[in-house]
């Protein structure tokens, strides 16, 4: 990964896009800011001439776009997954950051890792299930009385913030960020394996009642999702679970 341009490691994922024109506008927005990797989860119509028309010659982004059936497929190889949310409230347990803070985080991580930013449906954004697959949430601090950003405009702003953060790093190459020193961050797939394992151990111990799970797994995902575990740390936590299982 280290030989790739940092911005090339930032993936834009659009979920269930209804208007193909928005896919084209998003591709144009990405390219103006130097981003190139576009994933489309179950788009209503793609390829589509409307998308080409709105892309204004950013057709290379469309040609290379990867179409998948599920969000899981789009993020399986990613070390950091950020969901774009219209929700402004900073909840106690969510790792929610504004577009500027998040641009910096994404660029930090993208130097050595694959990262993804998820944008939801035009009408309703991301579902709770989709949000649960994100380690961070980002919000654009829009006008609370009219926060109706077009999805391509949201992509434009986030891509812009990524570029600005990247340019600031170029300007400041000597400044080492704390995150840059960390490599080998666990992928989404590895984290999902951990959650599954944890759930099994919790059910076996009686702590989690599968008939009445409440929000326990969601809360645990929020806790572990914001640590950015590296692989050796994840191995410790999984080893602990194995010991608990054997011990019973």
């Amino acid at each position: 990964m280290q030989t790739r341009n940092t911005l090339a490691n930032i993936r834009i994922v659009l979920i269930y896009t209804s208007h193909p024109g928005n896919i084209g506008s998003a591709a144009r927005a990405m390219k103006t800011m130097g981003l190139s990797e576009l994933y489309l989860v179950n788009p209503k119509s793609f390829p589509d001439k409307q998308a080409v028309a709105m892309s204004s010659n950013a057709t290379d982004i469309l040609d290379n776009a990867v179409v998948v059936e599920t969000l899981q497929e789009a993020i399986a190889d990613c070390q950091l997954v950020v969901g774009a949310s219209a929700r402004h409230e900073r909840s106690l347990s969510w790792n929610i950051q504004n577009s500027r803070e998040c641009g910096e985080l994404l660029v930090d991580q993208a130097e050595n890792n694959q990262v993804a930013i998820i944008f939801g449906r035009e009408s309703s954004g991301l579902s709770n299930d989709e949000l649960a697959q994100c380690q961070h949430l980002l919000y654009i601090p829009a006008n609370p009385h009219y926060s109706s950003l077009n999805v391509a405009s949201a992509v434009q702003i986030i891509s812009y913030e990524c570029r600005m953060a990247w340019l600031a790093r170029q300007d400041n190459k000597k400044k080492l960020s704390k995150n840059r020193e960390r490599e080998n961050i666990a992928t989404t797939r590895e984290m999902e394996g951990y959650y599954k394992h944890l759930e099994t151990v919790m059910i076996d111990s009686g702590f989690l009642d599968p008939k009445n799970p409440k929000h326990l797994m969601t809360r645990l995902r929020r806790i572990y999702g914001r640590i950015h575990l590296d692989r050796s740390e994840l191995n410790i936590l999984r080893g602990m679970l194995v010991a608990f299982q054997k011990h019973k």
Copy 2:
């Protein structure tokens, strides 16, 4: 002027816009960021149903838009006039700033003054005569190999930067600390109680050998130490440990 909202003193001026849809998209972009004042110099077609369609209910901005014949009329009452330019070079004779620096400048001035940002034609930007009427130039640091921003996308980014600068001023005024937003973070004493509990459970399960502990506790402290658990989250983790203990 001082009683008006600062953002209401920031005027967007579009010159000779060819596509009425761009006027609508620009109105929507402005409104999402809390800007409201739109001037149109000699638009090709306005009012126009395409503009309404693209405005997505930001029709109040369109209804209040002021149509004039010349740039002079659009900026006659302004104390600061900034031109948006695709030119990146910082010329010696021009006062040129990037979109972020310029957002701060505009908000600074707009607290007590009327300011304007001028966007040129879709095809060719601002003419030299028009640039000469600006006191500052701003550029968006786009991809040099593809800097083709749609005019409404450029309005979106500049409006966003104005809003971010305005919000930063509000924040500075309130002097809110970042940590105040999360409450009920576990204290050191509570975290120490957790580590002690975790250690006991690990020893009981055989995962941790107290005669040869290696750096296991140190590593776990590093993992949990960076989550900044709140009390309800800590209660979940402790409850889980209790369940594991009872289960044996």
